[in-house]
Amino acid sequence: MNFDLPFLWALVVGFALAMYIILDGFDLGVGILLLTAKSETERDLMVQSIAPVWDGNETWLVMVGVGLLGGFPLAYGILLPAFYLPAFCMLMCLAFRGVSFEFRFQAGATRRIWDYAFAAGSVGAAVCQGLVVGGMIQGVHVANNSFTGGALDFVSPFSILTGLTLPLGYAYIGASWLAFRTENALAERSRGQALAHLAAFVVVVMAVVLWAGREQPQLGSGLDASSRARGPWWNTGLFLAAAMASAIALFQRAGAWMFVTSVGVFLVTFGGLELALYPYIVPFRLTVWQAASAETSQQFLLIAIALLMPVVLCYSAYSYYVFRGKVRTNAPDEEPAKDSLVKA
């Protein structure tokens, strides 16, 4: 049997990355929106909606990192030094945010501090990821399979724009998650926030798309001439259609659809970016085939993934299923909450 292993591997890493930006995307978004919560009860509800699942969501990022290490070690060893500072800032932000989940429940009077840490960590991580996206589109300097640029190469007006895009996008998907998972005033406000952030996200993404074409003429160089000419139009059309669908779902208060359509918007955006960079894994220097690990290494893990990933997806879905339904602070049979938000 003859598989194109590097391509399969790229799909695996791409899949993990897509899972990451959707799943950790909405919980980072909830973290960002925590700043806008009106009361302690609201903050509790917001955190509670993601507490049982955040750890699994973040695991997809580990999967991306290790997928690169095992499948494309050359790319892993070029990209991480190239984005050394934003990568470290992101990791430290994620560390702060991760523990503030566990700590806030234990911290009586200092709970507020942990909420701020959680929010700040979420914003910081999102900005750093956005900077890396901008830096990837700009391309990195490489010689002899090693990064040769400077520590601050990634900083530019363009990457600052992409640095703003991700927090907006995460806040949007987080708000639609909250609109779906919470009730009453919090759900209503989240719905409004989702619409506002969607509008801002669409504007910024369009700006990025227009600017990116000028910033980096090599975008889409892996596609044939006709797809290269039509691709951006198709992609933009699809993006706007997905955004429209999401807006309609939000206006209609369409339950789970509010969240599902925002996932659609994310997938289209991500897919567009991947197609523009394809077939490069280190933008415009190394393709997935050039950066690929030895066949024995890629085979080993692909077999493991083929066997285990379906199981992983099943029990991850089960854990979401266990915590289905609207989040509430207190069980119905306990004392009614002081806040009118929660149905007694």
């Binding site: 991480l80 994620l94 854990s319």
Partner: protein, 461 residues
């Protein structure tokens, strides 16, 4: 010491990895402990076990969170600071760690939510299954990361072309010569760490005469575990060092024992002040003949000296020596405490000896210190290599300026310092609050608050 990117990267890596290992050691041990306790609850239906479970679940959750986020940093740090290592070794350890992610990390993460918040949302059996899966996840995770790390100590099953390793035989890579021993040594270390932590905290309650039924049960269970594990661990450590590691990394053994020249009828060095430059000790203090007894089980065996290894292949003696002394001396003390507990139990004075309880309070963090000492010995002892005999640490480094590494290290120190302080403050608060003494309501709720803040629970209906 000049602040080169190499030195700073090594320091940063050592700091982050040492910080990280504390928390998995605790999670592996506590997860196993929690699984046993929940099983006992389901078997006996004794309400006390449920309270024990709830209390240690909170401690577990605090530590697990720390382990996850510091582990995330580790998975990227191979690339950020040691990119040439990553490019060379990625084809070997990448797939092993990848297997760890799909088999262990997702398993832990998928069932952790149910374990922490699912009580009442799922059936008791399902909850027990979730606890077991989390515990299994932590153990599988340790098994695979130990395979990757052990391969770096005794690399087999590969070919190396000067730039990249290619795997010839996966079986030989994973089951490399030192792997089974080091894995077992680490797992037992984690279980022992948790035993001494549980024991230390329950003796603290015993001394304060608080939560007595809770404290006695935890004290007794954890000491049973420690009494079985400590002798095995000492024996295993001896086999690991002298029979398994010595043929592969003699330099580590030489540095551990603190001799430069091969010494017959050797004393067991307790204090040395090595002078690496002149290849001698400035100060050397030891217990006569004990070195030969421990190494060769007789009075005359020679202990090899570090001069037996060429200078450019020598590890720094003082780090390896004191890392090992920390683990060995503290481990011996823990062994004695475990043996003494058996004596006390036999004389039916286990809960009466205040002195013993005081000792156990002091030994609460001993497992962590031993783990750190052991890892310092293991990882500094294989310098100057990252992959023993193939790739040096200097050749593993990323193209970085020291300015970048100073920035990141400062950030790491600030964040980790805050995290550790907060962790300790919250742990202290959890301990001061103690377990709930009244029966718990176990009806369905599934809200976060109820798990974490048990004192707000409703009374049993």
């Amino acid at each position: 010491m000049e602040l080169t990117a190499l030195f700073l990267s090594r320091l940063q890596f050592a700091f982050t990895v040492a910080f990280h290992i504390i928390f998995p050691s605790m999670s592996i041990g506590l997860a196993a402990f929690l699984a046993v306790i929940e099983l006992l609850y389901l078997r006996t239906r004794e309400e006390l076990y449920l309270r024990i479970y709830r209390f240690w679940l909170v401690v577990f959750a605090l530590g697990f969170g720390m382990g996850v986020v510091t582990g995330l940093v580790m998975s990227f740090q191979f690339g950020t600071n040691f990119s040439r290592f990553a490019q060379a070794v990625g084809p070997v350890i990448g797939p092993i760690i990848g297997l760890e992610v799909v088999s262990a990390f997702f398993l832990e993460a998928g069932f952790l939510g149910i374990m922490l918040f699912g009580w009442g949302r799922v059936t008791e059996k399902m909850h027990f299954a979730a606890t077991c899966f989390v515990s299994l996840g932590t153990t599988v995770s340790a098994s695979l990361i130990m395979a990757a790390n052990s391969w770096m100590h005794t690399p087999t099953g590969v070919s190396f072309d000067g730039h990249r390793f290619t795997v010839l035989n996966w079986w030989a890579v994973i089951f490399n010569p030192c792997y089974p021993y080091r894995l077992l040594h680490m797992l037992m270390a984690a279980w022992i760490t948790a035993s001494f932590l549980v024991c230390g905290i329950s003796s603290w309650y015993l001394l304060r005469r608080q939560h007595l039924d809770f404290a006695r049960r935890c004290f007794s269970v954890s000491l049973i575990a420690a009494s079985f594990l400590m002798p095995l661990q000492l024996f295993l450590g001896d086999v690991l060092a002298l029979d398994v590691m010595a043929p592969h990394q003699i330099a580590k053994i030489e540095a551990m024992e603190g001799y430069w020249d091969t010494a017959p009828n050797a004393a067991w060095n307790v204090i040395v002040v090595p002078d690496q430059e002149h290849q001698r000790n400035r100060v050397q203090l030891g217990v006569p003949y004990l070195g030969s007894i421990l190494v060769g089980k007789n009075l005359t065996t020679s202990i090899p000296g570090l001069k037996g290894t060429p200078r450019d292949k020598q590890p720094r003696m003082w780090v390896v020596f004191y890392g090992f002394r920390l683990m060995y001396l503290l481990g011996t003390l823990m062994f004695c405490a475990a043996v003494y507990s058996v004596w006390l139990r036999w004389r039916r004075r286990l809960y009466e000896s205040r002195g013993f309880q005081r000792l156990m309070v002091w030994l609460a963090p001993s497992g962590f210190l031993c783990v750190l000492g052991g890892w310092i010995t293991s990882e500094t002892g294989r310098q100057p290599y990252t992959v023993y005999g193939y790739l040096t640490t200097a050749d593993s480094l990323s193209p970085l300026t020291s300015g970048s590494v100073i920035t990141s290290f400062a950030l790491v120190l600030a964040v980790y310092g805050t995290l550790l302080t907060s962790f300790l403050v919250l742990l202290r608060r959890t301990l001061l609050r103690g377990p709930v003494d009244r029966p718990l309501a176990t009806h369905p709720s599934g809200t976060v608050r109820r798990v974490y803040i048990p004192e707000q629970e409703g009374v049993l209906r």
